[in-house]
């Protein structure tokens, strides 16, 4: 019944030529997604990955346990001095992320292009 969480890691550059790392999630993000979300984030060296976009445009299902994993990434990124932008959430989950207060620590963008341009 649960769909696996898939993560594709891509690189891009911002207008200044600085590297942007994009984590493209797809499938479900729930309590079983710890390795996919936290594990993938932790596999990235904080020294080499200063600007990260978490893209949710291909996510089919997200619940509170999945949102908690996103918060854990924000906690770890804040400690490491990395910047996180979030893209591709549906209007409903943009509302939910705002309710929870996540937008105080990671701004939301409609798509990854806008998210990358805003670093």
């Amino acid at each position: 019944m649960q769909t696996d969480t898939k993560v594709k890691v891509d690189q891009a550059q911002d207008a200044k030529g600085d590297s942007i790392t994009i984590l493209r999630f797809s499938g479900d993000i729930s309590s079983t997604s710890r390795e996919a979300v936290i594990g993938t984030y932790q596999s990235l060296s904080p020294h080499d990955h200063r600007q990260i976009v978490l893209d949710f445009s291909k996510v089919e299902y997200l619940n509170s346990s999945g949102i908690a994993l996103v918060i854990q990434v924000l906690i770890d990124a804040a400690k490491a001095g990395q910047k996180i932008h979030i893209s591709g959430l549906t209007p409903h989950f943009q509302k939910v992320f705002t309710m929870v207060g996540i937008t105080r620590y990671a701004p939301l963008f409609s798509d990854e292009t806008a998210a990358g341009a805003a670093f």
Binding site: H92, V100, G101
Partner: protein
């Protein structure tokens, strides 16, 4: 004396296994669409029901797959009431709203968002604890055309 309008009921019985909350979500979404709820309200309802079912599976039935989570939808002309029942004692303490600053500083765990989301996304919510003879349930209500203009 007027009698209450008749209510149509839909019931779904789920195993206490993570992922099956999606069955309740899709059933409730179908019912809400038939009743004329807006797409935004349908999404609110889906998330609230998913969180209620997850709480029932995890905290109520403690992942015991021999126990069921019963989801009952009561349809009235202007309201949809949902009851999500399990075999646990029920929520005796309602979790306080999450504090993102405290979470970011490690002063509270990242988890603990479910009850907050339910409260924020529906018009009315009640956690009913077990009376001994029966299990506990959470009762959610969403209303068509909220007269207060509440943007929920």
């Amino acid at each position: 004396m007027t009698s209450a309008p008749p209510r149509t009921a839909v019931e779904v019985r789920l195993p206490s296994r993570m992922g099956y909350e999606k069955v309740a979500m899709s059933t409730a979404a179908s019912v809400a669409k038939l009743m004329g709820f807006s797409p935004e309200r349908v999404e609110d309802l889906k998330t609230a029901i998913a969180e209620a079912c997850i709480n029932a599976i995890e905290h109520g039935n403690r992942f015991n797959e021999s126990l069921a989570v019963d989801v009952m939808l009561f349809i009235s002309p202007k309201t949809l009431e949902v009851r999500v029942a399990d075999n646990g004692l029920g929520a005796r303490v309602i979790a306080p709203p999450p504090d993102i600053d405290r979470k970011m500083h490690g002063e509270e765990p990242p988890r603990g968002l479910g009850m907050f989301l339910i409260r924020e996304l529906v018009d009315e919510v009640e956690w009913v604890t077990s009376s001994g003879a029966t299990g506990s349930y959470v009762r959610l209500v969403i209303r068509l055309g909220d007269p207060t203009g509440n943007p929920k």
